[in-house]
């Protein structure tokens, strides 16, 4: 009879870790650099910054390397690192005139003041697996970049349309006409910080938005999709989707009246218009608004967030996506993946207790039947 090897844990862990470390860089190819990840896996970096809740391409790229490309695992590493940092300041609101638009579209109107700006998108690219990339050389990449830039050389300054200094928000146009329900400012101000204050339900809207901005892309998409498919559908229309570079400004830590510019943050921002409701105080029909905003370029996430923001404003909870406790408790990838993985831990004790219960129940049953 053997004795269960319970004391071998330390060696087992060390060996398993050594094997994983060996396999991470197994193969004969060049070692992947952190800089390459930062430069060429930008969407992954953006996703990890969002889910990891820390805007730093350096840290996100490093975490991606460490996590072998698993975005949830990389986000997890970033979140843990984040716990070691004190919160030193809260950013100021950014002003529309300070943002640099990289992309801006509206599905509600064909033409919008300032115009639709496609910017960089793969929306209309045919997803044909490009075998050419397999043989992509540094030389070819540089040449093609150069010729792309060359194509602008012949463009005369006068040919370039005067760019707007401020792009008005599409929803502002509708707001002016009184077509959008006005929400009280108290719903977002003062903002709470769910990483510093405990979460309980019902949760303040700023907390809801923050939890969604930190959420796992796939999870928030799935819940938003459930609403889009008809479980409490709100029939969203994208009033505006923006990708922009916005300034990060904080108030000076000592000289309160001054502000300090810290750099820029790229964000994706979406406003969706949902079917009108007439349960507002004024009793007149209007559109309702959903808002989404996340780090980096992640349009699916920003749209999903805006849809769910609107869903959670529904007075009656007709569908899972309209129940804020249901939505907000299940969208965090770090929490859901961690809890899912924990089932790999030993459950001898709980299972023994269950065994005892089942055996007891069987005993009682045979007792009754006898």
């Amino acid at each position: 009879m053997g004795y269960v090897a319970v004391q071998g844990g330390e060696t087992a862990i060390r060996n398993a870790d050594a094997l994983a470390a060996y396999l991470r860089v197994n193969g004969t190819s060049q070692v992947l650099t952190r800089q390459q990840i930062e430069d060429q896996l930008k969407l992954l970096v953006d996703r990890v910054m969002g889910e990891g809740s820390l805007y730093s391409t350096y840290h996100a790229a490093l975490a991606i390397k460490q996590a072998e490309g698993d975005p949830v695992e990389a986000g997890f590493i970033i979140r843990a690192y984040r716990s070691t940092l004190p919160r030193i300041a809260v950013s100021e609101y950014w002003h529309r005139e300070d943002e640099q638009i990289l992309r801006r579209i509206s599905s509600a109107f064909k033409d919008i003041p300032g115009g639709q700006i496609l910017g960089s998108t793969n929306d209309y690219r045919q997803r044909i697996l490009d075998f050419g990339l397999d043989a992509e050389t540094e030389d070819a990449v540089r040449r093609s970049a150069e010729s792309y830039l060359q194509s602008f050389a012949s463009v005369q300054k006068n040919d370039v349309p005067q760019s707007e200094s401020v792009y008005p928000k599409v929803v502002e146009l509708l707001q002016k006409e009184g077509l959008i329900r006005q929400y009280a400012a108290v719903e977002i101000d003062p903002a709470i910080d769910v990483t510093r204050e405990s979460v309980s339900f019902p949760l303040h809207r700023s907390g809801r938005l923050q939890l969604m901005a930190r959420s796992e892309t796939g999870s928030i998409l799935a819940l938003a999709y459930s609403s889009m498919r008809g479980y409490g559908s709100i029939h969203p229309t994208i009033a505006e989707l923006r990708v922009a570079s916005v300034p990060l400004v904080i108030s000076h830590p000592y000289r309160r009246e001054e502000t300090v510019y810290c750099g820029t943050v790229t964000i994706t921002e979406t406003e969706v218009l949902a079917k009108f409701d007439n349960d507002n105080e004024e009793g007149r029909a209007s559109f309702t608004l959903g808002y989404g905003c996340c780090f980096g370029v992640n349009e699916v996430k920003a749209i999903s967030m805006a849809v769910l923001d609107r869903c959670m404003k529904s007075k009656e909870k007709h569908a899972p996506a309209e129940d804020q406790e249901f939505v907000l408790s299940h969208i965090d990838g770090i929490e859901s993946s961690g809890f899912c993985a924990h089932f790999k831990l030993p459950h001898y004790i709980t299972f023994q207790a269950e065994l005892d219960r089942v055996r007891e129940a069987i005993k009682e049953e045979s007792h009754v039947n006898a």
Binding site: I13, G338, I349
Partner: protein
Amino acid sequence: MSTHNDYNFAFIDENAKKEIRRSILKAICLPGHQVPFASRELPIARGWGTGGLQVTLAIIGPDDVLKVIDQGCDGSVNAVNLRDLIHRTTGVPTTFETAQASIIQTRHRIPELPLREDQIIVFQVPIPEPLHYVEPSIEKATAMHAEKDYARMWVSLYEDIVNYGSVTIGASYPVMVHENYIMAPSPIPKWDIAKLNMANCLHLFGAGREKRIYAVPPYTRVEPLQFEDKPFKKEDFSGHVCARCGAGDSFLDEIFDEASGGKYWVCSDTAYCDSRIQKEAAV
């Protein structure tokens, strides 16, 4: 760009630790009441003991001696990992011996050796809400606690007895703390429930994913939910003793024996088991 290889004592930043300690103090003042806190992410996955870990990291000091067990065992892989993290970020000495420890972090067990007034036991909690059996919404369950509206809980236990002849809850059996709040004792077996009642030590419970901290202070009445005519029964190991140390008074793990095809039983509390074997050898 700095590389940040040096972390704060006990990993988490001091402001966060202070906040967690405030939640702990509130929890001690309201035995059995779940206090929400802003749970921090740790280098250990959610669901792997981050609640207990945050409590331990918030209360630990350089003079402490730490013991970490998982399922009663000091050598279990996750216990090894958590102990290593706490030791690496604090430098505090660790021990396997229950009597030597000032802080014991545990998953799913309370040591067999009774704990003292100068010891704190920290539980890792997966699901802090005892009413989840009858009410999945935390918002509604919170209101039920506030109103001491426990009727549905009692009815569900009653229905269990009607359907199966006994209550089917195994681990994490709901308890009444100080005749006030119903509390989830974390998934300890029913065997350990009695140890919570009028204990000498402080019990702290941390649920990281669910962001709740609660406590059972020393000398607090803790009773399992039971009916007069259907008293609470703990796991029955009658007829079995530990195959290693011969103990007949400890919670036993049931093991399949590959060689004989049969089964045997050993102590789940490995420190208790080892201490009995050592004592035997010393005689």
